[in-house]
Symmetry: C2
Subunit: 168 residues, 2 copies
DNA sequence: ATAAACTTTCAATATATTTTGAAAGTTTAA
DNA sequence: TTAAACTTTCAAAATATATTGAAAGTTTAT
């Protein structure tokens, strides 16, 4: 397989994975494009390369920046903005984990905490079933949350090293 | 907060979380409803309870069964099918991990493996950047895959115990 | 065989999400 | 200032996804 075709496949694969994980396809594709590009790209070049409109490119780049996955750069004496992706895979994983935790896990934890406080008689099967499910899910969600928190602070080699030691 | 309102909130929260994680809202809501229901429910009762159509209820229940989250039951002398959810949270997490691994992670791993085989000169920055990103992501994806595999076989208390021991 | 009781299918419809592109806004150099 | 070079916005259009509901299919008891 030649490089241009391989890049194309990578962009497609990353786009598909993204859309299965709540990040939209274009956003994941722009990210993928920047990941396989040595230097920086302008909005114009991204539009061209992925055949997307100016508005779409602009919004997508802003989203990627708000996720902390892409940064922009001003070159002295130039007016254009140049975009590049952080290419450190561990940083990417941490950044995604951080954002999803904040945007998705935390609001649910807040609701679950409230719901575990609902009172009722343990004789009532309706209440007992509700309470058990909510309490159990809340515990698991808190475990996930703590694990993510640790991951966010961790160094990659230490993290995987510990995981694999643990799993022998 | 009273029980019916709490149930409603739980169904909404689970629905929202589901739709952020690639499971559609209705599917997550039917699952949530079954999680807080002591016994089993018929299609009719689910339609009624969530105000959804017969077709939607039927398809959603089939999906939930294909994910291994819901089972059906025939009562002797009755023609209706009764549905219930496995209420063991650890089983739910494992089942979801198993399905997503199969449906999403594995196809991507297959492509990444191919892409790491693409040859080129390390003098060429285009190739070098492509190769590094693909290789790094492939390694991380494989680490995630191995971790999931271990999780699938593990007992809950052992799993979290080990995780928290590891994180001191 | 028949029909009642149920489940499944799927084309049409509704809803939600993404994308476009032209106009408005901003910045910079002269 | 002005105007060129760029970025941002957002209503309208396109696309993708989910839902409906009626018709077709299936199963079971008689």
């Amino acid at each position: 397989m030649e490089l241009p075709e391989a890049k194309q496949k990578f962009i497609e694969a990353w786009g598909r994975l993204g859309s299965e994980w709540g990040i939209n396809r274009t956003m994941a594709q722009v990210h993928a494009l920047l990941l396989v590009t040595p230097g920086e790209l302008t909005t114009e070049e991204i539009m061209e390369s992925l055949s997307i409109s100016r508005g779409n490119a602009n919004m997508t780049l802003r989203d990627l920046m708000s996720w902390g996955l892409v940064e922009k750069l001003h070159k002295a004496g130039e007016r254009k903005e140049y975009f590049f992706a952080d290419k450190n895979t561990w940083n990417i994983a941490r950044q995604v984990a951080k954002e999803r935790r904040k945007r998705e896990l935390e609001p649910v934890l807040k609701i679950l905490d409230e719901l575990t406080k609902v009172k009722g008689s343990s004789k009532d099967p309706e209440f007992a079933t509700f309470n058990k499910s909510v309490t159990d899910i809340n515990k698991m969600a808190k475990n996930v949350d703590k694990t993510l928190e640790t991951m966010l602070k961790a160094e990659e080699s230490w993290f995987w090293g510990s995981i694999f030691k643990m799993f022998k």
